[in-house]
Symmetry: C2
Amino acid sequence: MTATNHISEWAEAILLRQPRAIAKAATAIENRSAESEALLRVLWPHTGKAVVFGITGPPGAGKSTFVSALIKELRAESKSVAVIAVDPTSPFSGGAVLGDRVRMLDHHADPQVFIRSMATRGHLGGLAPATMDLAVLADAARFDAVLIETVGVGQDEVEIAGMADATAVVLVPGMGDDVQAIKAGILEIADVFIINKSDLAGASKLESELQMMLSLAHRPDNWVPPIVKTIAKEGQGIAQSLSALRSFLSQGLLADRAAARWVPRLEQMWKEKIGSCVSRQQIKEAAAAVARRDRDPYEIVNEWFKQIRN
Amino acid sequence: MTATNHISEWAEAILLRQPRAIAKAATAIENRSAESEALLRVLWPHTGKAVVFGITGPPGAGKSTFVSALIKELRAESKSVAVIAVDPTSPFSGGAVLGDRVRMLDHHADPQVFIRSMATRGHLGGLAPATMDLAVLADAARFDAVLIETVGVGQDEVEIAGMADATAVVLVPGMGDDVQAIKAGILEIADVFIINKSDLAGASKLESELQMMLSLAHRPDNWVPPIVKTIAKEGQGIAQSLSALRSFLSQGLLADRAAARWVPRLEQMWKEKIGSCVSRQQIKEAAAAVARRDRDPYEIVNEWFKQIRN
């Protein structure tokens, strides 16, 4: 069997949504293997049908419970769902208390639900490309919806969520001043605001704060992000959340947005591609020389640059 | 005046610690201007004297108050201090309540204290190189200590803190399960653990949890991170924190560590350098083509790669 045959058979198995082929591809993507790139190029023409939802927000807002409720809602519509958890605090990523993890097992048993957690460490520069490639994989495997869960604090994670077709930012009442700062950072990527645990004190206060913020901000696409109150643990407000996300998608803004979200993604892919030109060994030796102060780091980087141009 | 003269005069003013020259350089570094690279190459031979401390931890742990107390401690020793705040929730970055901001003003009035906040957004791929270049700038301007404050949740921020000579991870009792997950992620970069707000209930529990974690983990350098309890607001435990950081530095591990921390830094510099080969316009056009599904993103990236090689 030639390498090309191997890839095309593998791709075919993915298009037929065979779990083992998908899992193997996901691992290859996470490892950034050369094979995964070849595979993705074969899969690419078969993609573009899935809707990609980003779900982000600060730790403790109940993102995972919200994602879990969203899966249930989508399954009730007979939609298949792929979840990519980039959130280190997500039960999907193993960062949860036992209770949550058990709750997740319901979905794990369902063949129409594919769950993959991304290790958020050891992916220097590669976290966003790997996540987006997993979304391409899920799309090729004909999952109707792809949910990307990130913790909306780090820059990478916020950017990843913002690459989705529609992004929900999950907040929770009474998180204090730190959340104020976080909210400002993620404001621009929120297509829908979710106030989760909305039975807690402070939900109305948070809602009016958000409304005030929204009345001051103006998005270039004129979209005014709706605010949906949920109690994800009890399934309350989930259908409304999904409608809100879909109403954003139905605004006909998708073509522009799709182009816009490919900008950071191509940038990331480019940096990853080019980053691989210098070997680990070269970098290690250079680092030791700089640490000994034998070399100047700016000079080294310029030298590498000249090397790949010649 | 030639360009070279301009750069060397500017560098000279920085070596003399002239505030305006430093501020101008910091802005050039943040903007990733070509001038800043030329400047840094001139400054480089004059660096290597400052000690760089990383301070990271989850939002709400009181990192900024800890940093503020650390400045006070260092100033009491007549050391000059540069602070680089990469933390969007830090009062140094403007993300604080008024009370904190007012407290910071004490330091702002002191010419031996230089404070710079980094915008954490809009620095795609460039956040780490810019932060490290600011540390080089502060080092050249003969600041004795450089404090880099990051919020230890995002991948970038954790990596930046880990590039310091010695890194303190600031935790706080009773932050629940989310912190459990965060702790695991930042465990490997902590040279010293700070339990801040240690008068709160749960401080002893957190301490024994950390001790258990440390007894299970084994660092390649055999260092066992000390745990220091502080009440930063009242200045308690700050001298001990500084001693703990210094005891790590005095282990004679610094040469190895310096080489190790240059590995991610060179990687970041390399990606940034090379990322700039493709113009915004090229990326935008490519993004539109991919969004229309006229082009395959993997092919585009390969094409760019061929272009710079020829």
